[in-house]
Symmetry: C2
Subunit: 486 residues, 2 copies
Amino acid sequence: MADQLVWMSTPHMDPAEFRRAGHAVVDWIADYWTTLAQRPVTSADPPGTVAAALPAAPPTAGGEPVEAVLADLESIVLPGLTHWQHPGFFGYFPANASGPSVLGDLVSSGLGVQGMLWATSPACTELETVLMDWLAQLMDLPHRFRSTSTGGGVIQDSASSATLVATLAALHRASGGRWRDTGIDRRYRAYTSVHGHSSIEKAARIAGLGTDGIRPIDVDPDSQALLPGALRAAIEADLAAGDVPAIVVATIGTTSTTAIDPLPEIGAICAEYGIWLHVDAAYAGAAAVCPELRWSHAGLEYADSYCFDPHKWLLTGFDCDAFWVADRTELIDALTVLPEFLRNAASESGAVIDYRDWQVPLGRRFRALKLWFVVRWYGAEGLRAHIRSGVALGDRFAERVRADDRFEVTAAHPFSLVCFRLRADDDTNAALLAAVNATGRVHLTHTRVAGRYTLRLAVGSPQTTEAHIDEAWTLLAETADNLRSP
Amino acid sequence: MADQLVWMSTPHMDPAEFRRAGHAVVDWIADYWTTLAQRPVTSADPPGTVAAALPAAPPTAGGEPVEAVLADLESIVLPGLTHWQHPGFFGYFPANASGPSVLGDLVSSGLGVQGMLWATSPACTELETVLMDWLAQLMDLPHRFRSTSTGGGVIQDSASSATLVATLAALHRASGGRWRDTGIDRRYRAYTSVHGHSSIEKAARIAGLGTDGIRPIDVDPDSQALLPGALRAAIEADLAAGDVPAIVVATIGTTSTTAIDPLPEIGAICAEYGIWLHVDAAYAGAAAVCPELRWSHAGLEYADSYCFDPHKWLLTGFDCDAFWVADRTELIDALTVLPEFLRNAASESGAVIDYRDWQVPLGRRFRALKLWFVVRWYGAEGLRAHIRSGVALGDRFAERVRADDRFEVTAAHPFSLVCFRLRADDDTNAALLAAVNATGRVHLTHTRVAGRYTLRLAVGSPQTTEAHIDEAWTLLAETADNLRSP
């Protein structure tokens, strides 16, 4: 191609330099992935180490080659990272990267289009709509979530944002359509289990309900799942007090233990009282690509909205949350604002989707591309293989735990998170976690189950194999040998 | 490197394939940029064209090479895009891409780390803090916005989200700290000019104020800037009615005409009444990297928060909004939620920044990398050259308009947006816009100035040169020749 074309009015990186530097960055990433397992998962450096290694002021002249930045990445940034793609990363939930996703997102950066309206880049909107319908098919979601029915899907940055827009649509419904104009003019209430994600409280706070507007519902002590009877009692108490129940957020796969709230019972209660049901399956939703794991989604037909994060366990890089609504008009009605500069014939025809009305920000990146690259490269079978691998590795780890009398598995592990603990006090378990993490070979996190300190091992990195699971177990078992209960 | 390493438990794209496909994608982008000027800026295809060209169901088997997806990109996606990086793209405000930004973001995708907490990837947080301090220096922002003072900066996805978090912090302050718990328990009010961005209304709605909670303040008919006297009158009327003024959003560079609200007067009013002042400089803030344009930021020392979008006019790809607060504790206090699974020693020491408490979502991508690549490649002088080029090209266009008696420039053009119209009725101007856009050579948008239909030409694409400006003008002038006023 005509790389020598004089095409710019001020000095910019020309296509020839972009090719050269781009190949170098691609190679750098491939090298990073190849050598990742040899690095410590986490950094042991104290706060301020990275900042202290950087100049206090930006460069005046510029012109630094990309290779100079890559060298600083290597020497300054990498030692200060927690490596989420490391095969020994078992913390939180995974945040998958994959080659196809990285390349799809690279195309998005290169195109630099902005899909706030259909008219501002029609293909950006239409590819997203098609991809969300594809995902709905892959997961066998209720038909009304499809764009060809009354609903539709949209990519949000995160499940936090999905919960927030669901909350807003729910308030609009609960107010009888007044909320958009009058705001919070009564006491609205949101319900979720005590293990509902912190983003549910945050969404309620952002929406103006306050933390007091959240009703934390008790869970079954065995399953850690929301108790429908407690939900009903809370709703009835609020109604009796003159408050307005607006939204119930149920979870498929809680952050703490991957508990599954009983959607059939919860859904029936929501239907009875006309309350919006949002289902947060941020991590575990990906499991629904496997038919044998779809039991976890039983009752989803009651949901008004649903989300899961392809960026957690479905090989698509952050940020990519897949959010569906059963009735798109309710969502759009709640969120639309139409200033003059966004008026256009396509929008006014009603024949197109303007995704800005489905989310908090106005602007939007072409995120469907990374999902498109992932689904085409892996296909349905490849995605299922990844999920099945995670579940099998989790089961393998749980077997090791169960085979050692010093340990116990503290919760069911239907997906790829295993919660376990030493049969010892909380401090000993905390010491075990700190000791294994300090080796830099693994990174685990903790939670509390029935009040007791519990370790969490979440599988999901594409690089994690049986050998890494066995190594993690050996490390835990040997470290436990060296710990003395106080 | 050892690309042959058996490192994965299920089939994933191995490093060798990633190198090969990655080079192909980089080359594809370079080719796209090189040939971009030859494409129509916008698509003429009707709604549904792209969707109809895609399979109705996802592939089962997978294994499609990246090249197959690139071929479909070429044949299906590109014809359906509005090309925001095209030299003839003059719509909205620019959304800059640049080589260094694309490569910095590629590194972010490849690392796949998640910086919700300092502890979840320390370098992700520390590089961001340093970059935001660099930008504050580059733009000579008030000292208290620096992390070394009482404030600090954070990257948001968009100015919409920046306005939202500013609104939330303002509500927390206005409520005397009750808001976080009790929610919206009184009538709070937000103020902005009638030309304030639609995201201000949307933020107020999301926060539970409702559209009724927004007080649109009149503007000066000449400058299109907010009238401080009208602001004071609105505040006093609300106070008299028992309502609580919570936030004023002033704009540097309105979307409609790049009007600049008088910050010194507005700031003094906010200080007098203790109202949070947020300054939205989404597009025009980038101009502050040029000392000769900093007059536009006079009075910023009054601001409690400020944002601009490097993804608009500072060569950093979407999404990258730079948001600062003068007192970080107010923001954090409003937004923090601390569930057990996020507790860690570093956070509890108080020695680190956890950016999750500065934004709506929990998760966050390593967006500082693209900004780092941009600032190092361009340097301060390169960034200034880009801004100056845009201003000079805008001036050049405005001169052409002024030299033709049939046209008039309808607003001051301190940056790179020129508002202009035919001295004819609204329908004729709308017809002119439709006709030039239909050629596919340019893409302009419209607004209303003092009620009259006005065309907007916004310069900012790195590829736009004097030749493109002259070509756009010639096209407009010739098209006007062929239009008859009804």
